[in-house]
């Protein structure tokens, strides 16, 4: 049987393996970040931005999620492309 390598993981599982760990990381990151900083005090230069707390927390969470998604995507991308390179080299 041919060895299973990450590039043969079905697409759906690849997507989940990106979204899910980043989701957990985003929860932890927002928890720590927003305990330390009040979003109300983060608006720079006294800009007149009228934003509800829930919106601020939500956007913060989504930003953390996107950040973690990008990182996870990078990991998966390199894992898969490394598999292909190694295969080409005959390993």
């Amino acid at each position: 049987m041919e060895a299973l390598t990450p590039d043969k993981i079905p697409r759906a599982q690849q997507v989940i393996s990106i979204l899910w760990p980043s989701f957990i990381c985003a929860i932890v990151a927002s928890g720590i970040f927003f305990s330390a900083f009040n979003p109300k005090e983060l608006i720079p230069f006294n800009l007149d931005i009228d934003i509800s707390p829930l919106a601020a927390y939500s956007i913060g969470f989504l930003l953390f999620w996107i950040l973690a998604i990008v990182s996870s995507m990078g990991t998966l991308y390199f894992t898969i492309s490394n598999c292909r390179v190694l295969r080409k080299q005959g390993n």
Partner: protein, 463 residues
């Protein structure tokens, strides 16, 4: 060794998914599971409805940055408690896993709880296992569409209720319900209700056991907490094999068979679609459905129960079991110590905080009476659940005087109060140019609410 690891050569991790139609199991463990699931669902849906002194009993009040837990109000600076709680939860998972195996997976994990709830609805609408399989294979027809439509409508309704309840942990449920029915729901509240509903619908309706197999980190590392005395669900091959069907009332020894009649019910009831007779497998969430299914068959065959049962590797091998073993004792000790520390810390927590900020614009000034004066801004945070009047004084220099324009210091419950005070001292009593002073704040009629905060008093220096 009777309890063997399943052969993992044909790695099932990345195979294309085949839908699993678990058959319903009934028996003592199934009853225990239903009880556990109903209790946990009850807690989840009822908690936001509980009230405590005119407010929701458990509420993460995001706008106010407070977390209400019955009588306790936690502030962002109490984040450490939340972190400690998470560590405690993790440690309890270690402890219970070492002791009882994957009891969390089978009885308490939200994934299991909601999957069972959704399976129950599916069963009520589509019928038992064979009916469900037949329905899915059947060509599209009006009645199939009607049944599927009904199932998804009910699933989605339940999901929306779940999502609504989730948001009600962050927005008071009365307000949320009111906003919902008057069409004033904020966009983000709407977003989170839909987000959580969709996640519930997807996880409990479709992904089910795949969440345990592909997404759950615990399923992957739980084996590290296992030892030979951990409770596992196992088939006893020395008793069951060789398997084979036989007539009821046959003595298996006469026909050269073991006790397993190879009815496959243990496979049919399995929510993760494995065959427990292949040995211990990481897909097994220890739900014990196969135990109930097998016991029922054993009863019918008039064989003793327990061909599949809760056991430990040691007891399956006929060796003595140890409940108290180093691993358990270490986990238990750490758990108890941390619990004790947390409770002590919370019980001794002073629901009062004082922030002293020296006026940065002027170092000091001289009063008309020739005293040196420093100005401070005080921020008083009353974290208690009732309002208090406070007395404030300072010491550190002989004859230090505290002057305030505020005759009375009253801070409402949960409020931050800002006030400016002046300290006056004779420069002859100052040893150095800059001397540490202490502000004392104490609640009148609640003497345990007292706090001391240090600051610096600056003068011209000794002449």
């Amino acid at each position: 060794m009777p309890v063997q690891q399943a052969d993992n050569n044909d790695n099932p991790l990345y195979v294309a998914h085949q839908k699993i139609y678990p058959r319903v199991a009934s028996g003592r463990f199934a009853r225990l599971r239903v009880l556990s699931i109903l209790t946990l669902l009850g807690i989840y849906y009822v908690t936001p409805l509980l009230q405590w002194n005119d407010r929701q009993a458990i509420l993460f009040d995001l706008p106010a940055r407070k977390f209400y837990l019955f009588g306790l109000t936690l502030w962002p600076q109490d984040f450490i408690y939340l972190a400690a709680l998470l560590i405690l939860a993790g440690l309890s998972l270690f402890f219970f896993t070492a002791l009882l195996g994957r009891v969390w997976c089978g009885y308490a994990c939200p994934q299991t709880v909601w999957t069972e709830a959704y399976l129950w609805m599916e069963r009520k609408i589509e019928g038992n296992r064979s009916k469900r399989m037949k329905l899915d294979k059947a060509p599209t027809s009006a009645s199939k569409i009607r049944i599927k439509l009904l199932k998804h409508t009910i699933w989605i309704t339940f999901s929306l209720w779940t999502g609504f309840t989730f948001v009600a942990y962050f927005t008071p449920i009365n307000e949320l319900a009111n906003n919902l029915f008057t069409g004033n729901l904020g966009p983000w509240e709407m977003f989170w209700i839909l987000f959580y509903s969709l996640a519930t619908y997807g996880n409990a309706g479709f992904m089910r056991e795949q969440v345990c197999m592909y997404m759950c980190p615990y399923a992957r590392f739980q084996s590290a907490m296992f030892d030979s005395d951990t409770l596992i669900v196992a088939y006893h091959p020395e008793r069951g094999d060789p398997r084979g069907s036989r007539r009821r009332g046959t003595d298996p020894k006469e026909v050269g068979l073991g006790d397993c009649i190879d009815c496959n019910l243990c496979v049919q009831v399995c929510p993760t679609g494995i065959d427990i007779r292949d040995g211990l497998q990481y897909e097994c969430i220890a739900c014990s459905a196969c135990i109930d299914a097998c016991d029922e068959i054993m009863d019918k065959m008039k064989y003793p129960r327990g061909l599949i049962d809760y056991t430990t590797e040691n007891s399956a091998r006929g060796e003595p079991q140890h409940i108290l073993r180093p691993r358990i004792l270490v986990y238990a000790t750490i758990l108890l110590v941390l619990c004790g520390l947390l409770l002590t810390h919370i019980s001794q927590r002073i629901a009062l905080d004082l922030d002293v900020i020296r006026d940065r614009n002027t170092l000091y000034r001289e009063t008309r009476d020739g005293l040196i004066e420093n100005v401070y801004t005080l921020k008083i945070l009353n974290m208690d659940s009732s309002s208090h009047q406070y007395s404030l004084w300072a010491d550190g220099i002989d004859g230090l005087k505290l002057v305030s324009d505020q005759p009375e210091l009253i801070v409402e419950a949960g409020a931050v109060y800002e006030t400016v005070v002046r300290l006056q001292a004779d420069e002859f009593n100052m040893e150095e140019r800059s001397v540490p002073v202490r502000f004392h704040l104490q609640a009148i009629e609640a003497n345990h609410l007292t706090i001391v905060e240090e600051a610096r008093f600056v003068g011209p220096g000794k002449k």
